[in-house]
Symmetry: C2
Subunit: 197 residues, 2 copies
DNA sequence: TGTACATCAGTGAACGCGCGTTCACTGATGTAC
DNA sequence: TGTACATCAGTGAACGCGCGTTCACTGATGTAC
């Protein structure tokens, strides 16, 4: 193994991901350019293709990272809430999700913009991260709705995630129903509290 | 007024909107091409620019139409439900929204794809149609939550719309949480029923 | 340790092409007198 | 009704340019002997 070369290669890969991440968050996915990226990384455009199959591949790497960060943020938000009622824990998680989305709007949007674009199945890491996220939610939800069977519980998990996602999505959108962040939190709480009785 | 010319112009405008609509629904917004459009309409590419400022303008016209259709479909779904409990009426409306989205996925997505694109304020018709849609929801919601004041009621209306939108959005997405349509309906009902007690 | 050779990261100019938009021109329709 | 003129919808070839991707080449790093 060419260890020195390999190391450089891995470093470049990492650098490119980080720069792309910063640029996406600053200007949005649609403004990401191979040339800009290479310029900032101090390498040639062609070098990108030594490390990634194409730009899409690079964006997927950024998205994977973002997804992981969301999972971590949501997981972290639950620390120290073990004793609390499940509904409160759901609200805490939702607010962590909102917080991440609000503080990284463009990065968060890139997550969905790319998936829209290529039609096919989601990559493995995507499904895996989603599974983890749902697993986090499943705990409190099953406590809350002990009367539901596994199948219905799964639907409920998805339904709740989708609802919160929808509130965050439209809440953070300036045009359709853009709303101050405090109001978004209140909407989430309103809905979840009612659902959890 | 050059009545004959004006009529032709108006006709072309209408034709183009209809063809664009069909093409968007068939292939998605991102596959819409000025040349294809002109080809199918039997006019020159340049003619498009006689009738619309640019392609974006044309797509906005299609979106306006779509938005109106959604409003109509939702409104129509309420016919004959006057006596029913408010929660049932909310579910009926939500299912009408789901039905439209499911039967016109790409058209429905175009609604949001374009808005993402241009950053600025939404056009007037957009806000107006949204207002109408919310007004439809506001009726049952205020019956259901008579204890809330106007401000909180408005938030609740938005929250409920956003939740249903989120469930439909992720439900219709093949990758993230694509789910058979019956399940989407069940998720909506599950959530709304719980909220409405 | 030294020499010859192989590999492959890295280069960046050039390719290619998709596609919205323009613009000089034509001809039909309408108006003035 | 007829003639001259103006308007403007309609034409489509050509422009322009943005931008991802390629590819022939270079040179550093590593391996074989």
């Amino acid at each position: 193994m060419a260890s020195k070369a390999d190391k450089r290669k891995a470093e470049l890969r990492q650098t490119l991901i980080e720069i792309a991440e910063r640029r996406i968050e600053a200007k949005g996915l649609s403004s990401l350019r191979a040339r800009d990226l290479a310029g900032e990384a101090g390498c040639a455009v062609g070098a990108i293709y030594n490390v990634f199959a194409d730009m899409n591949d690079l964006v997927m790497a950024v998205n994977g990272r973002t997804f992981r960060k969301i999972g971590e943020a949501v997981g972290r938000s639950l620390e120290g809430t073990e004793g609390q009622p499940p509904i409160d824990r759901l609200i805490v998680m939702s607010n962590a999700y909102l917080a991440f989305a609000a503080e990284n709007v463009l990065l968060w949007r890139a997550l969905f913009d790319i998936d829209m674009a290529d039609d096919g199945t989601a990559p493995d890491w995507y499904m895996e991260e989603l599974r983890k996220l749902f697993a986090n939610i499943a705990g409190p939800v099953s406590e809350l709705f002990s009367e539901l069977d596994a199948k219905e519980l799964e639907l409920m998990v998805r339904a709740l995630f989708s609802s919160v996602h929808g509130i965050v999505l439209l809440g953070l959108q300036n045009r359709i129903s853009g709303v101050p962040r405090g109001n978004i939190e209140r909407m989430i709480a309103q809905v979840l509290r009612r659902i959890g009785n």
